[in-house]
Symmetry: D2
Subunit: 308 residues, 4 copies
């Protein structure tokens, strides 16, 4: 299939189920894909932050893409993160994930190295020049400690370097600037990474959403997307309110014992296990697992949202 | 050879010379090693931040370690960075660099993922359990956006998990806490990563220094180290003053055009080329090269320091 | 008049016009008030950040409140900032501005001193206990370098300590948490400080907006507010788009020459002078004035928005 | 007396003892001054951060300066902080504290307002032009969230705008740049605000130290200063080690209950009360008081340092 221009709809960043020994649990991964596709999502994003991409070895990353792309078989677009520190290392991942079947790559600004906007521009230009598939910018300051300036992204959109942007910055004013500026670039996709203000982002004119919580409740986000597209803002607000309440599960882990990734990713996986989608809720090292009590909390959020 | 406990002296983070096509320039790399060894340095640290480790592919990283370890042949200890985001990915690098001959690995806190002290502890414990060689913690908040708390490092020193720490945090008060605390752990090495306050760090009782500028002027840092060890604090201060002036070359690149890595690493390489040590000053992508005028500035710093 | 519970509508943070000698220009200030009141705004907020409160002496602050409260004469509510570092100093301002006629005070978290949530709670409790008028929390992390946690604000709302919150944090997800939580506290006002996503904030259920740009175009924000209240989201989006374009004037000042306050506040005042509302565009020291060329840019934004 | 150029020696930032009702406790304050002067300190800095300047009302600030300057009667220089957000407000404090007897004023970069180096320069120029006494820059990024660039400070030193700098940034490499650059400006004082690396700062060539902990142990810092001046670096290191251990008392307060200011300033005052210097350890609001157990910890630190 041709990659859609622009990409639209709900595109969950797919969790990566692991076995107790911390290998990729392919059967669980494929059940998760079926769970998402069955709910009507419009694309799949593997090897993102929610996928624990930062924790997966190169072999595990490759296996994930092969398994998902092979299973989906072109029914909907499969994007893959090519998450690494700088251009040469990202390019290795671009080669690997596209060989494994990814139809677009999602790339952050350089990190670890101190960077500059001119270097970010060169980074994306170089990657786009060598990538066989469209490149989507991934704006995630909490991870890379740089915010992609909207005018930089729009400049690269105008030059055909970028096919879209996934904005996980939380800055809706900057997001609006992207949406407004992207009107001049019809094939360019502006996607929000927010679980909590997806309705607001879509109301502004976003093309779609990439919410981690859609692993747990894909039907909810698909409903929300349809309501927004239909202009049913009241319905959308009610659905979003429900999803915001459900999002509380990401705080199940005790912040005195673990970091935010452990809590949020651990809770997504606990929820997927409780819903019977995956076999095991283990997360990659060095993340701290949720306790039994913390998993109980996740169950309560699911029950309150009508998901158990 | 047995890895020294504690590691002491001047241990330069070795630059990685590249060809114009951005492959590792092994002959230049080995000339750089000879330049450092000939000046009397006490160890070599490859694949650190100054080595552009964040920019090198896995194949390039392996080649660097093999070339340097093979060339050095046990004459002095070779440490290698195992720089990556999280435990499983770091462990892959530990396997690769130790197979290639590294006698110790240098490991940062997790990055990209949001982390927590308990996760950092688990990260180091897990790596040390699986590493065939000693593990040295690398505290570099400017890159990983986490400061290693001294008490965390000292706890791991006490448990035999860590063999040392390279502190590039710039926080001399916290460094002093490390030095003071490490008196209880005789084999544990406390090393400063600072070019500018190496004399002060050694005066506090640091075991050694890992200054990027030692690529350019290894004789200066070896002199400084010997003066400090001999208690010649006046001589050390004068030498350090000279090195601080020389360090000005790292600001040769225009900050309106490039980031700090481009400027500093570009200047180190320009200086090494001007001094006839390496063939080509190119840095890895997406870094911005120094202009001719900026390279002139580097030459002036070298001349002022008596190095041209 | 009784202070409304909750406060609703458009409540501009009123600029403080200065004379060329940097005294408060009372006639210009009153013309600005008339300009705002005439446009139908619902309240006035003096001595906020946009008012250059941080730059005004105590005598100037008092003069501003007296002039505005006296001129308004109870026709609409007048809120005043009591902006200072800690509880005792804020309390002095509370006394001064309420003596001068303010009907509510707007108070940030402590700044300069390193603070803790329990101290922020105590700060607000103490101020509310001693204030003769309602207290509104002012969440402005860019200035005070602390984000007020939504649950802290809502706890104080529940206890009757706070009568509202002005959120200038830019974090719409946290703002949504405030709006949702405030449903349990009917008299509590949740106000956005954003110029750029006022429509989104109102769509979520915000009670009102406190946009600095409303000095320049109060009619625009009043229209936007009415459209949102009427459920005319398409009209609101178009109006907001126009205001977002106009907001570009805040970037008129060259960032190589001046900080963000100089540029934004200088541009608001230049616009007010160009529109004939105030006599002089001078800002307080040490702010850098806009150049003639930069003022030209402001004029172009006004013209494009149909305001000249 | 003429203000010394440069100011040298140990210049404690004097704590402000309060009564249980949180008024300035003048008798305790004067006993504290005697305690410091008797130990041989070389100057007194009132209304600094350690003095809880950020928490004192204008009347309290004035009272402190009058009491201390009157009591000292020219025996040693009295500096006063003029801590406020911007130029006009700082100038009000400059007027007040110099009228009350301060012989130099200590001034930070602007805060609360977003600022720019050119504005910081203008700020200091304007204040120096209108101040009847020398102006000393106060570099305290933890409070004002801006680091004064060394070249900016040195430029103002060269122009005679600044008479010195108190560096509480913790960045010893930048401090060295100040010391080195200040050699060209013989009357300009470079003072460290660090308790923990005062010996290192003096070894680099600092003119003096302004350590908050000198309230508790002025004899220790005076000894340390004399050892450094005499070139007794071993003795200085031992003394500094003792003071570093004593500094542990600043962590007596539980970080889960209070901020860093509450803990450190509360511990200084608890120590002064335990040592019989002041009557009451209360700190200004909204700071959290130390518990009995936490005060016990302070006592243990004092005992271990031989101060009880």
């Amino acid at each position: 299939m041709t990659f859609p221009a622009p990409l639209t709809g709900v595109v969950p960043p797919v969790c990566t189920p692991l076995t107790p020994g911390r290998e990729v649990d392919v059967p669980s991964l494929l059940r998760l894909v079926d769970h998402l596709v069955g709910a009507g999502v419009h694309g799949l994003f593997v090897l993102g932050s929610t996928s624990e991409s930062a924790f997966l070895t190169d072999a595990q990353r490759r296996l994930v893409v092969e398994a998902v792309a092979g299973h989906v078989g072109g029914r909907l677009p499969v994007l893959a993160g090519a998450i690494d520190m700088t251009t040469p290392r990202v390019l290795e991942h671009v080669r690997a994930v596209t060989a494994a079947g990814a139809e677009a790559v999602v790339v952050t600004a350089p990190f670890y190295a101190r960077t500059h906007p001119s270097e970010i521009v060169h980074h994306y230009r170089r990657i786009a020049a060598l990538s066989p598939v469209p490149v989507i910018a991934y704006d995630i300051p909490v991870a890379v400690h740089t915010k992609l300036p909207p005018e930089l992204v729009l400049g690269l959109a105008g030059d055909g370097v970028l096919a879209g942007v996934k904005d996980s910055s939380g800055d809706l004013a900057a997001f609006r600037e992207l949406v407004t500026g992207a009107r001049a670039h019809p094939g360019f996709a502006v996607l929000t990474g927010s679980e909590l203000i997806a309705d607001a982002a879509l109301a502004l004119g976003a093309d779609g959403a990439v919410p981690g919580l859609a692993n747990v409740d894909p039907h909810g986000y698909v409903r929300l997307y349809r309501q927004c597209r239909a202009g049913d803002w009241e319905g959308a607000r009610a659905e979003q309110d429900r999803l915001c309440a459900l999002f509380g599960l990401t705080g199940a882990g005790d912040p005195a014992r673990m970091g935010g990734s452990s809590s949020a990713l651990g809770a997504f996986k606990a929820a997927l296990r409780l819903r019977g989608v995956i076999d095991c809720a283990v997360t990659a090292e060095p993340q701290v697992p949720l306790s039994g009590e913390e998993t109980e909390k996740v169950a309560k959020y699911l029950a309150a949202a009508g998901l158990l």
